[in-house]
Amino acid sequence: MTTPEAKTQAVELTYREAVREAIRDALKRDERVFLMGEDVGRYGGCYAVSKGLLGEFGPERIRDTPLSESGFTGAGIGAAMAGMRPIVELMTVNFSLLALDQILNTAATVRHMSGNQFGVPLVIRMATGAGRQLAAQHSHSLEGWYAHIPGIKVLAPATLEDARGMLWTALQDPDPVLIFENIMLYNMSGRLPTDAGPVDIDKAVVRRLGRDISLITYGGSLWKTLDAATTLAAKGIDAEVIDLRSLRPLDDATIMMSVAKTRHVIIIDEGWRSGSLAAEIGMRIIEQAFWSLDAPVARVCSEEVPVPYPSHLENAALPQASKIVAAAMAALGRA
């Protein structure tokens, strides 16, 4: 209910609930949409994202699958080609490796191989990231790998608005869209307007305006970066924070405008350093904003080690606000 005085009503909810709302909203608006994946139905979703949806929409539209990532991802591709709008949930990016062949060799390439006769309007959602001591095989951040592939789009919603709004836009896209939900964000809560709706899926957004240094990041690292910006502000450094939101395509224009202004840049990326998405962004900055730079492009990434189990080691392996602060200070010659 809205009172005449209130312009918009907002509700307190978690990131997980925002994703659930996005799925529910899509299922209601478009009967071609259905959700398919392991334990999405009776279990309610590994991260409880789809809790309650089976009861609301039934087993045809909330489809539990066997442990057959390749099989059901391919099935999602085929169903999309046959006129449906499936949302395939791969439980985590770690298991998506079993479906890599279908994602790369079918989903990403059918349009091209068929000379534009067939497209694959499929959405694949996956949980990603580390931080819960799940150890080496359950802690990958492979968004950068997927962002390497022409033919698909890759998104990293880091805010409630994006968790709520990106899915519908992705479902309208004629090409495969991969949405990465960082596991550390599911419990994050905040306020979201009740009329929050679809958002664009190809632009980066400046989350904090600044003058001294650009901090470019995505997904789970956004909040660490904003924390770092707060710390830097206390030290008299005014950091600009950019949330990439779309990892493929990358919003070069927003990035370069920021770098031209601040002349210093750190890229924060939870993937491993070598061959990371940060490396790609760094290269683009060299290509497009070289003459603006007043310090080398720097990055804060995960250390070159499989993610360890004990928390002190896991923390040391991953990007942290303190590392971002240190990198920023060094870049500005204030180390």
């Binding site: 991802t73 062949d101 060799n105 091209h112």
Partner: protein, 330 residues
């Protein structure tokens, strides 16, 4: 709908059609081999010699709206399905007049008009796709059949098992057609499968399955009629193992070190065209004039296709990055 037609009607017209389709494929493949040696066709080329009875027996049984998923050895399937020979050959040349706009080549023939979903170079890669097409039809209550052709080599891939399981579990209208030609590239079946009776694997997933002599086009058609009817009626999957043999090498560049020439010759004596033509001649259902006419028609069609492909044009390089992403849906 008409009554279940599970027996082929062997009218003169029909048998000549079966024979012609097989000969048409055989001559086309021979022309492809020739063109490949002249470097007109490049990359990999996989020919269907000896297996024609399967495509010719199964595909005409399907309806136009049904869907077909095939492998990289799919020229015969595309031709029988009705993809014009001109656009197939142009595609293999890489010309933009090809059925996939020249972008795919021999292994990636696609045709929307005939619901031909490719052409796939990943062994086993088409099975999950076929399951998905059938899933879409199942959810939209389309009463369509998706025929998925694959070699027995695919049976080793995890995707085969995942796909059969899903199709059976969810009751999806997939006709799995396993073209068992006894060799996965250079590896004999007995050296790669603990259970070489392939139809039994499908039976383990509780899919109705049968094996048929893939060298007998009439037997294949009869089995296909049974199978397609069952899939369309029940909406459930069916598994047809067609036992056949690949007369040529796996691809053009294959010295066939893994098999005996004597074995090939033995199979050559019982290959589908020889068998069917022999049977027709013995039963006086075909006359020498018919054969002459068939060969002439086929030769003319092939010559026409070659001319079409030769005259085809190269897509301008400036358009390189087209067909990576689509336009936004209306």
């Amino acid at each position: 709908m008409t009554a279940p037609t599970d027996k082929p009607r062997l009218s003169r017209e029909h048998v000549l059609s079966l024979l012609k389709q097989m000969i048409r494929i055989r001559r086309f493949e021979a022309k492809c081999a020739e063109l490949y040696t002249q470097e007109k066709i490049r990359g990999f080329l996989h020919l269907y010699d000896g297996e024609e009875a399967i495509a010719v027996g199964v595909i005409p049984v399907l309806e136009k709206r049904d869907r077909i998923v095939a492998t990289y050895r799919e020229h015969g399937h595309a031709l029988v399905r009705g993809v014009p020979m001109t656009t197939v050959l142009a595609e293999m040349y890489g010309k933009q007049e090809g059925c996939s706009h020249g972008r795919g080549g021999s292994m990636h023939l696609f045709d929307r008009a005939t619901n031909f979903y490719g052409g796939n170079a990943i062994v086993g890669g088409g099975l999950p796709l076929a399951v998905g097409l059938a899933l879409g039809d199942h959810m939209q209550r389309n009463r369509l059949v998706t025929a998925c052709f694959f070699g027995e080599g695919a049976v080793a891939e995890g995707a085969f098992h995942e796909s059969l399981n899903l199709a059976a579990l969810w009751g999806l209208p997939v006709l799995f057609v396993c073209e068992n030609n006894l060799y996965a590239m250079g590896t004999a079946l007995a050296l790669s499968e603990s259970e070489t009776d392939i139809q039994r694997k499908a039976a383990c997933y509780r899919i109705q399955a049968e094996a048929v002599d893939g060298m007998d086009v009439v037997a294949v058609e009869a089995a296909a009629r049974r199978a397609v009817h069952a899939v369309r009626q029940t909406g459930k999957p069916y598994f047809l193992e067609c036992r056949t043999y690949r007369l040529r090498a796996h691809s053009m560049f294959d010295a066939q070190l893994y098999r005996d020439k004597g074995e090939v010759e033995t199979w050559r004596k019982k290959e589908p065209i020889v068998r069917f033509q022999g049977w027709l001649e013995a039963n006086r259902m075909v006359h020498p004039d018919d054969l002459t006419r068939i060969e002439a028609d086929v030769a003319a069609e092939i010559a026409d296709a070659v001319a079409f492909a030769e005259a085809g044009t190269w897509e301008p390089v400036e358009q390189l990055t087209r067909f990576t992403y689509g336009e936004k849906a209306a």
